[in-house]
Symmetry: C2
Subunit: 200 residues, 2 copies
DNA sequence: TGCGCTACCTACCGACCGGTAAGTTATGGA
DNA sequence: TCCATAACTTACCGGTCGGTAGGTAGCGCA
């Protein structure tokens, strides 16, 4: 069984798509990464678009697992959401990679999804809105208000995660390290502020 | 004089690069948009990279002009920064386009700038940090702390601007309109919260 | 033994990529 | 009037793209 080969291809594809985007990576690039030809890749995933789809489904599962852990860790909706959001920025490379892929999806979606008709982010956003509206201060808010607030937090989190290589290039490694530390602290405070504060 | 032709090419390039990224647009695409051949484009801008550079310089000038207006409008550093940040999200298509280009630059920078060695965003960020540290509550903060806070606000602003087509696709036009309204209101409150609050 | 299936391979296709070379056409100044 | 220059053009180049066609090698099972 070559489930392992398939998994290797999927893993390489995830990394490369996150780094360079759907249009910035060729299937030959991905196949090279695991020492195969692109025809071997096409044998496992019949088209590039299907491979990309499986990559997005993979990170959706990752997010869902993190969410389940956050929910299991506490009975307080506020704590659950805080843990979930902070988990996205915990500085492991894998978390940053997922953020990048999310951002790529937002940017490239217009071209890709409008032809494919698949909106990978919809369920993800709706779950976050549901978690937000379980928080006492947001219980009376409309779905739209909750989504707006959630999106601001997602922006603060993912924008930074995405910027890492650029900020490192601009400011150098040691100053970026200090920035990274400061960011984590301030983000937690920002989340608390938003969660405490009702919409109007 | 064909300064106009040059300008037309630059304008088309700005729109297309914002929509599809550096690697998602060919110089032939851009030239087609103004009814010329790609060789005509290469006559005005010798390479694709130079054209892209001029596009980024153009939006830098746009940002600088908006900043100058915000500074001229008030003597209060807090009001200046608020006006500047809110101007980025004022829902005109051009503002959203600039946000997309900024985001593309953050994402693609690793490939592009690391070879070119040009960091278009550095001056932009440093000016924002300077404005932040002119605000009373942030006067004692370190540059890194101010940058972290600024980056959270930039994230909240630009992430939303970038997501417009995707959110519109997921939720439809009318629900997106409601979200857009809610976003503006809540963003202003978020900016106030961050500006009032000292770092530690 | 032999059949079918999985997992790959080489060879190729038409389309497109950024860029070069070598023109043509129009303008404007000496 | 001549001639340089600007503003384009067509015709290419080598290379890469996603995908197809048609294999082959090995393995499990009847």
């Amino acid at each position: 069984m070559s489930q392992t080969t398939r998994d290797h291809l999927l893993e390489a594809a995830t990394v490369l798509f996150a780094e360079r985007g759907f249009y910035g990576v060729s299937i030959a690039n991905i196949a090279d990464e695991v020492g195969l030809t692109k025809q071997a890749l096409l044998h496992h995933f019949s088209t590039k678009a299907k491979l990309y789809g499986e990559v997005l489904e993979g990170i959706s599962r990752d997010f869902e697992r993190v969410r389940a852990q956050a929910i299991a860790a506490s009975d307080d909706p506020e704590a659950q959401l805080t843990v979930y959001l902070l988990a996205m920025i915990s500085t492991t490379p894998k978390d940053a990679m997922r953020s990048r892929l999310l951002m790529r999806e937002l940017l490239d979606n217009q071209r890709r999804a409008s032809t494919a008709g698949v909106w990978y982010l919809k369920a993800f956003l709706e779950e976050l809105v549901a978690m937000m509206r379980a928080v006492p201060a947001w219980r009376a808010a409309s779905a739209v208000e909750a989504l707006a607030a959630i999106y601001q937090l997602l922006g603060a989190i993912n924008y930074f995660a995405v910027s890492e290589p650029t900020l490192r290039g601009i400011f150098g490694d040691e100053r970026f390290g200090a920035l990274d530390d400061a960011y984590g602290e301030q983000l937690e405070r920002l989340i608390q502020q938003v969660l405490k504060r009702p919409s109007r």
